[in-house]
Symmetry: C2
Subunit: 248 residues, 2 copies
């Protein structure tokens, strides 16, 4: 364990910022207590690898703060991001001993880890964890299918617009939003990471970002700070249905 990968005394679940959205969301206080016994925090610096595909993985975890990515790499180096993990998202698969993907911290990252064995035992005895995990997994599957449409059928411009909309929407659901109008956020990804998310090259990402700026869809301050004068305009560029598709 390097000094960049710190195991920390974990704070109380009661104070946890993701308490109500993570895999533990539905737990009663006695269940929470049992989780606390098997949990520990780990921190990673931006750019650090959390785990390599194929490595033994003896824990599962929730992202507490920061952003991590799941990527697959082909033998010749082609890379595709297959997961973007935000606070409260879950990493690892109960019942699997090796990591299936590379997990990387793209920002400074704090994870709440559970030793896998006891976590699995806990899962089989307390339905609340399994229920919540099922719900989260179904949500991820829906997101993956949306992503497949993007990868298979959208143009480069639509892909960029879609990614910006996804990040903007997430940010907006946390912070408050100036109704309907302009707002602002920071890109948590480099151009190359955006390219890996979208199935493009970083040059194409750069060109399309410039094009969206030239056309007034977005504004750029520095490389990472984006402002969107008109969210509806951005949405038009994504190619998606206007009504966000109510799934109930």
């Amino acid at each position: 364990m390097s000094h960049h990968d710190l195991k920390l005394g974990a704070p109380d679940c009661g104070d946890c910022p993701i308490r109500h959205r993570a895999v533990c969301a539905r737990c009663e206080s006695d269940e929470l207590k049992r989780l606390e016994e098997i949990k520990y925090y780990r921190s990673f610096q931006a750019g650090q690898t959390v785990i390599w595909s194929g490595d033994r993985m003896d824990f599962v975890a929730s992202v507490v703060t920061g952003i991590a990515t799941l990527t697959q790499t082909m033998e010749d180096g082609r890379r595709q991001m297959v997961g973007l993990l935000l606070p409260s998202d879950f990493v690892g698969r109960p019942g699997r001993s090796a990591a299936a993907y590379d997990v990387t911290a793209t920002t400074d990252l704090v994870m709440c880890c559970f030793r896998k064995k006891p976590f699995e035992e806990l899962m089989s005895t307390t339905p609340h964890i399994a229920q919540r995990l099922l719900e989260m997994t179904l949500d991820e599957l829906d997101a993956a299918r949306e992503w497949m449409l993007l990868l298979g059928r959208k143009t480069a411009r639509e892909k960029i617009a879609s990614l910006l909309a996804i990040i903007a929407r997430r940010d907006t659901s946390l912070k408050l939003k100036s109704a309907k109008g302009a707002f602002t956020f920071d890109l948590p990804l480099t151009r190359e990471e955006m390219a890996d998310y979208l199935g493009l090259t970083l040059e194409t990402v750069s060109r399309q970002m410039s094009a969206l700026k030239r056309d007034g869809v977005i504004g750029l301050e520095g490389k990472r700070h984006i402002n969107v004068p008109n969210f509806d305009r951005l949405m038009e560029e994504t190619g998606d249905d206007s009504d966000g598709g109510m799934l109930g």
Copy 2:
């Protein structure tokens, strides 16, 4: 309900060909009994739509025999397949009232349907169903991520080879296989459906099929009957790691 969409008296779960792989795989006989009370069979002809995206969906179901697809369609008609449902696969999401995707029978299809409300109640009381559904959903998520790599980074030739390998492998896991060597199967998809799966046009699919035939990777008898003289050769064309990635 048209005469092509028949509701049938459902046979006994004991005789069910997917009993050991479907969502009911882990159920005890008393749980099975309760499932039997809320289940009914429906049949569809090849080409029929099971349900349209956005429609009210008051059941969930398992595919018993045949093949169905999930597809998303953009306003201008671009289509992307996001799921390929084989016998024992599950359709529908507990806790959601509307279908999120178009579901279509690509072959004649028999589904074992459960009324959604009672199914959800059953799920919350019997952990075996939820456990199995979680496992199946995690498998689907892995498959979706594999698919994302295909869509984002593989060439047309690699996409075709990958799809053929997937179908071949599935067929082989059912039927017996002539060890390592040549074998044979039927494509359950039209060229257009293959294109929708792979994020290509049907012309590109056709050209690459011809190229793989010319290069001796596959043989074609008619349009749909494929034979693979050397499975390893086909695998080399997929671009995937040689060792099938042990996930344990």
